[in-house]
Amino acid sequence: MRTILWLVPALFTLTAAPAPETGREIAQKSQAAQFTFKTLKASGEMTLTRGTESIGQRSFSVELIERVKDAEFDQARVVINAPTALKDTQLISWSSGTGEDQQWLVTPRTQRAQRIADRGRQAAFVSSDFSYEDILKWQVDDYEYSRVSQSACPSGTCTVVEAKPKNRYSSYTLLKVYYDEAYRISKVEYFGSDQAKPRKTLVNSGYAKQGASWQPAKSVMTNHETETSTQIVWSGYQIDTPIDERVMSPSSIGR
């Protein structure tokens, strides 16, 4: 979960940590590596697919401002550029280690900022397979961790960490996160009430170093229930370029 924002800044750790590490430690290392920047900008081309049939295209840009202190909100803004009808629709997300996450959807023409309540975060974002919950930045304290085992993953052999969401409104009961040797997130399996079969699976691939961090070139979220998938092809990474903080504030929009 919390995909778009935490899969953009990927892991950075150079060598595999000596065993035994707890799940939480792995998550922390992954987090530390992912967000070793002050700001990040990137573009994404999203393709919605059912079977082999493309059912929609979206293009968007992402801006992140990373805060050092846990109590401060990390801020992110997703702006839709295409299709034309959705152009300039914005999603502003604030997340912190305190669990007080907030999200606003800003509609483009009237510039109304509608706050999305916690309970609404399981909903699909712009009809994709990513939910609002997936888009929020991963905060280590939002989960309870346990380390499971080593297991095969798309990038070879990964360490699998189980993470249970603390948020009562989360639509997931369990996440299995597959970290590769460099603590990059190779795969995430999202489980609902049925823990025998994942509801969704995210696979990241094509990692490349952007500044001090690894960033994926492609992310594919597959919804096994609806048999649809959403692919994001990432490009245009910019690290530590200035971002006007006012655009991250819903109160400043349209006022």
């Binding site: 059912r50 049939e53 059912i55 929609g56 839709i80 299709p83 034309t84 009808a85 959705l86 152009k87 629709t89 999603l91 907030q102 606003w104 959807l105 509609t107 483009p108 023409r109 009237t110 109304r112 509608q114 706050r115 999305i116 309540a117 916690d118 309970r119 609404g120 975060r121 399981q122 909903a123 699909a124 974002f125 712009v126 009809s127 939910s131 609002y132 009430s193 049925d194 229930e225 609806t226 048999e227």
Partner: protein, 785 residues
């Protein structure tokens, strides 16, 4: 030339058999690899020239290929209070079924809500049924669709699945049976019903498969037993007849399946038809060979060439006209009808080739020639029949005195039949085709009794300009049109942009008056964008991404095709014209499988009329080319049209509609009936040298064969009465009746007309011509006469 023909008749049977066997072996390999045998998907029934098909394809491109099942659950009276738990449990269980993408139920519907933090789309909180139901009744989507104000004991579920025309039948059947199992087995559920295209598809495939497994073997067994009995248990002759007939049928089925055309509800009858008609044609030729041998006109080895020389003309006439009877139905641009038409025609021609070339050789190979030349009559009851037919000929000769009065009576009867025929109506309403005790019919009856929707159609509204803004006026018009359509007495519910806007607009408008909000392009556009971006997972089914296309889905109780046509061609278009007609660059078109199905009726009726008319004309010209006599050709055509006219008059009088299966009755009956007529006229003309005794001689000679073939065909068609499809039963029954009528018309009316219109000179000219060309020593009369 004769040597060349002799060579051809010698090697051709071997070549034909080799090709048949090769094609059947190829099919066996394909079947082993899992090629489908039966496909009755509704999608194959569309009229491909119907412009609605383009709209349907556009609708699928814009809004996805998901198809929907509507399920309704009636709670046990004492457990109505548990309905919300039941809905939750059923939703979970249904969503676990392979092929189901989503289930929208009272407990899974994402409703726009507001709490202290803000807006959110989510399921309603788990709560008792009554408050949940009250909330949903006020919801623009769920009210009187998932829950019903008048029926607190029931609720509905919209099951989205993605089976399509390419989905194997077995997969669809498994999906539907799983859905039914989940709904039926919950202890709190008193009854459940499921409707939808996938359900109809699955049940039709299941029933077709059952038909295939029952009808084909039964027809073969019944025809074989009848043949053996009719031929007085001459088993070698039976085997010799069954071999070419079996090869023809096997090769035809193999060719059809190998060409990627699985059996449909109509072509399922083709193997039986081909087998029965093949047996009938073989009996004609076998009867002729038996007479030829008994008259001592040659050795059994010479019978093969003699058959080719002397029967090629009547066989050509009968096979070509029967093939035309099938083939002309190809003018109807509905795939299964065309498959039946073309493969039926091909089967007839193939049968002709087998009858002329393979049958005589088989009679020789199986040692049947001895059986045919023995002292016994060929058919059971032949001696008695020939006596009756002789007396009949004498009576018909006496009846010539009243020919004028009879002609007047005939004209009067024809006028009455014409009037009754004009009352024939066409109706291919799917549900009427299935027996009342089938689960599908029971479910639809439940929907009807509760006045619940069980069918749907769509209205696709597109905007010509690509401006990414929802025009507030268009939005208002869509809302007004939706409301007016929903107010139609036939319609239960309209879901679409109007329901989405009705849910979002009040939440976004805040303090702004609703009318002001709805009149502002930006506000309206943002309302849709909020729904689209904010978590309404249903919106892509009704509003296209680009905000340039909208879909209204109209739900209604199952309507017969005439009412559906009224709804889709008059009422809805009138409403759309009123509200959207004046808007520039906006088009609104009715779409959906049910609409295409209703439109198909028109195509079939037009095609039916055209095919029967062309068939009658073709029949006339084929006879003319064969007989070279206008009057006799007209007589032959008349006696073959009469049974068809009687059947259509019967349908008109009883109000029984013609549908996709019974549409074949007239053309095919006409084609088959020509068989007897052709052999009979040629036999009569052959014997016209006998003068006054010609009719009696021809009747005694061909009459028993005509009766025997009629018995075999009628019993073969009667097997269709076992079909699970009502139209197939009607087809079998009426065609059997039509063929009996055709035989009676040949014996009575044609005999009378031959006496009245064929001059001695005509007959002699024909006989002389035949003798001159074929080298026949004399017109055959002998043993049978």
């Amino acid at each position: 030339m004769r040597k060349l023909l002799g060579g051809i008749t010698a090697w051709l049977p071997h070549a034909i058999i080799a090709i048949d066997v090769a094609v059947m072996l190829a099919l066996a390999v394909q079947l082993y690899n899992g090629r489908p045998i039966v496909n009755n998907a509704i999608d194959i029934w569309f009229d491909r020239s119907d412009p609605t098909l383009d709209t349907l394809n556009q609708e699928r491109r814009l809004f996805g290929h998901d198809t929907w099942m509507l399920a309704t659950v009636w709670m046990r009276p004492e457990r109505v209070g548990e309905a919300s738990e039941v809905a939750r449990a059923l939703t979970e269980a249904l969503e676990r079924i392979d092929g189901v993408t989503r289930v929208i139920s009272p407990t899974s519907l994402e409703v726009l809500q507001r709490d202290a933090q803000g807006l959110f789309y989510d399921e309603l909180d788990a709560q008792a049924w009554q408050p949940l139901r009250d909330t949903l009744l006020r919801h623009p989507f769920a009210g009187d669709f998932l829950v019903y104000s008048k029926s607190p004991e029931l609720f509905s579920l919209l099951i989205k699945e993605h089976t399509g025309p390419t989905t194997p039948g077995i997969v669809r059947q498994r999906l539907v049976s799983e859905v039914r199992r989940v709904l039926d087995t919950h202890p709190a559920v008193a009854a459940a019903a499921v409707a939808g295209t996938a359900v109809i598809n699955a049940d039709l495939n299941r029933l077709s498969w059952r038909d295939f497994m029952v009808l084909v073997p039964t027809t073969v067994v019944v025809a074989c037993v009848m043949l053996l009995a009719m031929l007085r248990f001459r088993w070698r002759t039976c085997l010799a007849i069954l071999a070419p007939v079996g090869l023809t049928t096997g090769a035809l089925i193999a060719a059809m399946l190998l060409s990627g055309r699985p059996f449909t509800m109509v072509t399922i009858a083709l193997p039986g038809l081909s087998f029965t008609l093949g047996v009938a044609s073989c009996l004609h030729v076998t009867g002729w060979i038996a007479a030829w041998l008994r008259e001592g006109r040659g050795t059994p080895a010479e019978a093969t060439q003699a058959t080719f020389h002397q029967l090629i003309r009547p066989i050509l006439v009968s096979q070509i006209t029967t093939a035309l009877g099938f083939g002309l139905l190809a003018v109807i641009p509905v795939t299964p009808v065309q498959e039946m038409a073309l493969f039926g025609a091909a089967g007839e021609l193939l049968s002709g080739v087998h009858v002329v070339f393979v049958l005589p050789m088989c009679l020789l190979w199986f040692g049947a020639m001895k059986e045919l030349a023995d002292d016994r009559t060929l058919f059971v009851g032949e001696r008695w029949t020939t006596g009756v037919l002789g007396a009949l000929a004498a009576w018909l000769t006496r009846l010539q005195r009243y020919r004028v009065r009879l002609a007047i009576a005939t004209v009067a009867v024809c006028l009455v039949m014409g009037w009754l025929t004009s009352r024939v109506r066409y109706d291919s309403t799917y549900i009427h085709m299935i027996q009342a005790n089938e689960r599908l019919r029971i479910d639809y009856a439940r929907f009807d009794a509760a006045a619940l929707p069980s069918a749907q159609l769509s209205i696709v509204i597109t905007k010509g300009n690509s401006a990414p803004v929802v025009d507030a006026a268009l939005n208002t018009a869509i809302g007004a049109a939706s409301a007016e359509i929903e107010a139609l007495p036939e319609v239960s519910k309209v879901i679409g942009p109007a329901s989405i806007f009705a849910e979002v607009a009040p939440a976004l408008a805040g303090d702004q008056p609703a009318a002001t909000f709805a009149a502002d392009d930006s506000s309206v556009t943002d309302a849709y964008i909020f729904a689209l971006s904010g978590g309404n997972t249903e919106i892509p089914s009704y509003v296209h991404d680009g905000l340039g296309a909208y879909r209204l889905v109209v739900f209604f109780p199952y309507l017969d095709n005439s009412k559906l046509e009224q709804l889709t061609r008059q009422e809805i278009p009138a409403i759309l014209k009123t509200h959207l007609g004046g808007m520039a660059d906006v088009s609104a078109r009715v779409s959906g499988v049910t609409v295409l199905w209703a439109n198909m009726d028109d195509t079939m009726s037009r095609g039916q009329i055209a095919s029967v008319l062309v068939m009658a004309i073709a029949c006339f010209f084929t006879f003319f080319l064969s007989l070279r006599n206008w009057t006799l050709a007209a007589c032959a055509m008349f006696v073959n049209v009469v049974p068809v006219a009687v059947m259509s008059a019967f349908l008109g009088a009883t109000g029984h509609p013609i549908d996709m299966a019974t549409v074949f009755i007239m053309g095919i009956s006409l084609g088959i009936a020509v068989d007897d007529t052709s052999f009979y006229i040629h036999e009569y003309l052959d014997r016209s040298r006998l003068g006054a005794g010609a009719l009696a001689s021809a009747l005694r000679h061909t009459g028993p064969t005509m009766i025997a073939t009629c018995v075999v065909i009628v019993i073969g068609f009667s097997v269709l009465l076992l079909s699970a499809f009502i139209p197939m039963r009607t087809f079998g029954g009426l065609t059997a009746v039509g063929l009996v009528l055709a035989m009676l018309c040949d014996i009575f009316i044609l005999s009378f007309l031959l006496l009245a219109f064929s001059s001695k000179a005509n007959g002699l000219q024909y006989a002389d011509d035949t003798v001159a060309r074929t080298g026949a020593v004399h017109a055959h009369g002998g043993a049978g006469s």
